[in-house]
């Protein structure tokens, strides 16, 4: 082996701690970078990517099975403009009940599901991704997009024989063509009413292309057989709106991960080479040229770093799988894999950073005069840290603590790097906590979570969308409208509310009537929501203004105000049933339902024009301490005479929120680990440099516990400063990011979404900097405690 090889080998082998730290830093940094890079890639047009990967349906059409045959439906695949098609799949919309042994009380009515009979999920148009469990393969099995857990039973009590199905899997269709799938033979038990055809277009699939094909399909079939259709552009618009809400968050975390990766690796390598200055002096004294010194230290850095980079790529790719799955839940798309070019870029960048840092540090040391290298490497520069040592000695603290507090000041550059590392780690934690709190509040206001119970009718198939959570409630082709749009045959609201109020445990309730209407001067329709009572307790958040007091007043979400160019105090004209109703805007409310095209008003404003209008849904708040399941069971029974059902309000348990919080937690843990590793490296270097001093202390009678106190105290101030600086940085990022998320989604977020920082939370987050720093210092503190005094005194 050459002399250079021996130097490299001994440098790696004898300085095991340093070698391991370099390896671990590179490993963690590359893992974080692969994750961060993958998130950034996944956040770029996620719907479009998923749609292309899953062979999404540009157009889906629902055909009336009573008026067109299966053959006639299949023949529409030959229409000009269609490049590929799947179907016809038998479909039906039915409302199941929860069966026995399920995750929830049996007998509870669930939302209507659009169910398709499909035997193969991964071929043809609109390839369905299985997220959990498996595809249905036999009778009595069903796969859902969301809802009851795998293993639950769904009973379709309104079908002959009351067929029941066991949930065997959870899947997602990027085109949202169905809520559930069963096998083609199994769907006959549900008495399917339609055929679903899925088309991919050969053209660019613009709105005009979709309209052209839709018209051609309608013309090719017997008259009045097309019950409804759905364009991919509608789904894309809704998905993009959801994506827009969350992209800034994921991009921020992705960037944080990349920055911390560079900081971590750079400081570790620079510190490792810097600590070897004395050894470099010895090598030069023996006859090594500066170029040989640089090559030796480059190799000493690149060998463990290279191993760490390789392991980091593997770990990053493995970790990215659940992270991208969570991201796909957030974006409501299907999971994508790691783009290979992300790995290539990260590896190249990591090698470049290691090489550049090691080269710069070793070139600098190699250029030193030999005698200076020998001297610099033995002792820190005279005078550094003396003021801090003198001041700390005066503090009324145990001497080991005051000794430790002064230590970082002897190496200012290293101290600054440690503080920066802790700042980033603390900022990441603060941002994550703030975002989780803000997004939690967003979900509460979107889903009116304060209303614990929802009461509505057992809707017949095709009765129209309800006010569910999520930007695109319901799946499958949209139907032309419910047969009783005003619910005039429904029960009298006063009677229903009286029955609800008489139920023990009821705290408050209101009814909602929803009816489409037009705004004078605006194309399309909006949803008019008429409330029987004050709904302000239910989680709706005012952005500005006040709630309506009586008739003729309304609140509007930001998108409607933007579309009508109206502001608070203005009067807009609503066209309901050909009658013009002037309504004054008194407040702006946060809502993303129907893309924010809604008006919230007193029901009497609407019944003055349309007396037959009645609420289709009721929301109920349950008193504290009341057993929710028991209450719902009792209320459900009390609602039977009205033809209504009681069920838990699904809001506030959004899969999106769960996925986002999971993602946030995972990313934050990774970033904190990188920060702690940065501190670990610096403290290892610091402790090794001071090992002889440690020996002197121990010779004077310092116990192992006191030695631990010295090391841990040396990072407390760094952690405190890092926390004090990092928390405001995280808050600043939060204050920029959250409104940006609202802006890109076209909504103005209420202040309560932004005001998440209580004093206790701030203090705890600030202390988090100390926790990160102490966590990084634990291992070297243990080593300092364990090292034998004689060994320490002998160390040069």
């Amino acid at each position: 082996m050459s002399s250079l090889g021996k130097v490299v080998r001994s440098g790696i082998g004898r300085r095991r701690v340093q070698t391991v730290v370099i390896l671990l830093s590179a490993f963690m940094a590359v893992t974080a970078a692969v994750l961060g890079g993958s998130l950034l890639v996944a956040s770029t047009a996620p719907f479009d990517k998923a749609f292309a990967e899953q062979h999404g349906a540009h157009l889906s059409v629902l055909i009336d099975a009573a008026r067109a045959t299966q053959t006639q439906s299949a023949a529409t695949a030959e229409i000009s403009g269609v490049s590929e098609s799947s179907g016809p799949y038998a479909v039906v919309t039915a409302a199941p009940e929860l069966g026995p042994g399920s995750s929830g009380p049996a007998g509870i009515a669930l939302r209507p599901l659009t169910i398709a009979g499909r035997d193969e999920p991964s071929q043809g148009v609109d390839r369905v991704s299985i997220l959990d469990g498996r595809w249905a393969t036999g009778p009595g099995e069903i796969v859902l997009t969301e809802g009851p857990a795998i293993g639950s039973t769904l009973v379709f009590a309104d079908r002959p024989g009351k067929p029941s199905f066991t949930v065997v899997g959870r899947a997602r269709s990027v085109s949202r063509t169905a809520d559930a799938w069963v096998t083609p033979p199994a769907i006959t038990a549900l008495e399917p009413t339609g055929y679903q055809m899925l088309y991919r277009l050969s053209a660019s699939a613009l709105a005009s292309d979709v309209d052209t094909v839709r018209s051609a399909v309608t013309a090719a079939l017997p008259a009045d057989t097309v019950l409804g259709s759905q364009s991919w552009l509608t789904t894309k618009q809704a998905a993009d709106r959801t994506t827009a809400l969350f992209v800034p968050f994921l991009i921020a975390f992705g960037l944080l991960g990349l920055v911390m990766a560079v900081l971590s690796v750079g400081s570790v390598i620079a510190g490792a080479v810097g600590a070897g200055t004395y050894r470099i002096g010895v090598l030069k004294a023996l006859g090594f040229t500066p170029a040989q010194v640089v090559r030796a230290y480059l190799a000493q850095a690149l060998i463990p770093a290279g191993l760490g980079i390789g392991l980091g790529v593997v770990a990053g790719n493995l970790l990215t799988i659940p992270v991208l799955r969570s991201a796909s839940d957030v974006y409501e798309t299907t999971p994508s894999g790691v783009a290979p070019w992300v790995d290539i870029v990260v590896v190249s960048a990591a090698v470049a950073v290691v090489t550049a840092t090691a080269w710069a540090a070793s070139w600098r040391a190699g250029r030193l005069r030999t005698v200076d290298a020998l001297a610099v490497g033995r002792t820190p520069a005279a005078g550094r840290g003396r003021l801090a040592a003198a001041l700390s000695a005066r503090l009324p603290l145990p001497r080991p603590v005051s000794l430790g507090l002064a230590q970082p000041f002897a190496r200012p550059a290293r101290m600054i790097a440690m503080v920066a590392t802790v700042v980033f780690g603390t900022a990441a934690v603060a941002l994550a906590v703030g975002l989780a709190a803000s997004l939690g509040r967003v979900e509460v206001t979107r889903s009116h979570d304060s209303a614990g119970v929802m009461v509505d009718g057992s809707s017949p198939p095709g009765s129209g969308p309800g006010t569910g959570s999520g930007p695109a409630s319901g799946s499958g082709p949209r139907r032309p409208g419910p047969p009783d749009p005003l619910n005039e045959n429904g029960p009298e609201p006063a009677t229903v509310l009286a029955a609800i109020a008489s139920q023990p445990g009821t705290e408050a309730a209101y009814g909602i009537a929803e009816v489409p209407a037009a705004i004078a001067g605006l194309s399309g329709t909006i949803d008019l929501l008429g409330f029987t009572d004050d709904p302000s307790w239910a989680g709706f958040e005012l952005t500005e203004g006040r709630w309506f007091h009586g008739t003729g007043e309304a609140l509007a979400p930001t998108p409607l105000l933007t579309a009508t160019a109206a502001k608070i105090g203005d009067t807009i004209t609503v066209v309901l049933d050909d009658q013009r109703v002037p309504i004054r805007i008194v407040g702006e409310v946060f809502s993303t339902e129907n893309d924010g095209l809604q008006l919230f008003t007193d029901l009497r404003t609407l019944t003055a024009v349309q007396p037959k209008l009645k609420p289709r849904e009721y929301r109920v708040a349950v008193a504290d301490g009341v057993d929710l399941d028991g209450y719902i069971t009792a209320l459900d029974k009390a609602m039977e005479p009205f033809g209504l059902n009681a069920q838990p309000n699904p809001g506030g348990h959004s899969d999106v929120l769960v996925a986002l919080n999971t993602l946030t937690g995972l990313l934050t843990v990774l970033l904190v680990a990188v920060a702690a590793l940065g501190v670990l490296n610096a403290v290892v270097l610091q402790t090794r440099e001071r090992v002889r001093e440690l020996g002197v202390h121990k010779a004077m009678g310092m116990t192992p516990r006191q030695a631990i106190m010295v090391v841990l105290s040396s990072v407390v101030l760094i952690g405190l400063i890092g926390g004090v600086l990092g928390v405001p940085a995280g808050m600043a990022l939060h204050s920029v990011m959250v409104p940006a998320m609202g802006d890109t989604a076209g909504v103005r977020l209420p202040q309560m979404v932004l005001d998440v920082w209580g004093p206790v939370l701030l203090v705890l987050l600030g202390l988090g900097g100390i926790v990160i720093a102490v966590a990084g210092a634990l291992l070297p503190a243990g080593w300092a405690a364990r090292i034998r005094t004689a060994t320490a005194l002998r160390t040069e």
């Binding site: 005279a382 080991p400 002064a406 002197v696 121990k698 009678g701 005094t789």
Partner: protein
């Protein structure tokens, strides 16, 4: 009862010859023992064992009634606080602490109050002629002054014995004389001393008894001491009685 008692003590590093081989030794209170010998003879090892900085592979070490060979790190640290003052060849003062802060360090580690520690420190510095350097940093002092600071630090906790490892090894002759006189005066006042040194003059001036170590064996038969049981130890080696 002897202050220091070693019985059959051996210590070996790695696979080479033992640094100490079956050494038995006693030191009475008030004695000043000089341990002489060439490099690698085991002098520093002997000192480390007496100081509780290291543990023997065989035999027992008892100092001031405390069995050292079985102590853990925490217990040996507490033993040193109570019974041992150490003086090193290269002083081992902490460069970023003032003279005063260096001297009071052992007392504060032992839990003495800050006020008491500073009072004792001032008294020691005064008696050692260092009072005007109390706020100076060690880097500004001469070798002899630094070693006197080290002596002051070693005396802070009123140790049962003072251990000095080549205390004049890094000093010029004038400073060396200064330190020799200091150590002699301390012993005259009753301080028990164990000196490891190459300096024959120091041994002659300070020691009441001299031991020679050769390849880990104590040579000769100092008063009250028993030589290690090897054929080499049968040779008569000079000893110096004061």
């Amino acid at each position: 009862m002897p202050v220091i008692e070693l019985n059959g003590v051996s210590r070996r590093y790695d696979e080479g010859p033992p640094a100490l081989d079956d050494v038995t030794l006693t030191v009475a209170a008030g004695e000043a023992i000089a341990v002489l010998g060439p490099s690698g003879s085991g002098k520093s090892t002997l000192l480390n064992l007496i100081a509780g900085l290291d543990r023997p592979d065989a035999g027992t070490v008892t100092v001031a009634g405390v069995r050292l060979d079985g102590l853990g790190e925490a217990a040996s640290a507490r033993y040193r606080r109570a019974h041992v003052g150490m003086i090193f060849q290269f002083f081992n003062l902490l460069d970023d602490l003032t003279v005063t802060d260096n001297v009071v360090l052992p007392a504060l580690l032992a839990g003495m109050s800050r006020a008491d520690a500073h009072r004792r420190c001032a008294s020691l510095l005064e008696s050692l002629g260092l009072a005007r350097h109390a706020k100076a940093y060690p880097g500004r002092l001469s070798g002899g002054q630094r070693q006197r600071v080290a002596v002051a630090r070693a005396l802070m906790n009123r140790p049962t014995l003072l251990l000095a490892d080549e205390p004049t090894g890094a000093l010029d002759s004038a400073s060396g004389d200064d330190v020799r006189k200091l150590l002699a005066d301390l012993n005259a006042e009753g301080q028990t001393l164990v000196l490891v040194t190459h300096d024959e003059t120091l041994a002659a001036r300070c020691a009441t008894r001299t031991l020679r170590l050769v390849d880990g064996h104590v040579m000769g038969t100092p008063t009250g001491a028993v030589a290690s049981k090897t054929p080499a130890s049968e040779a008569v080696v000079s000893e110096v009685d004061r």
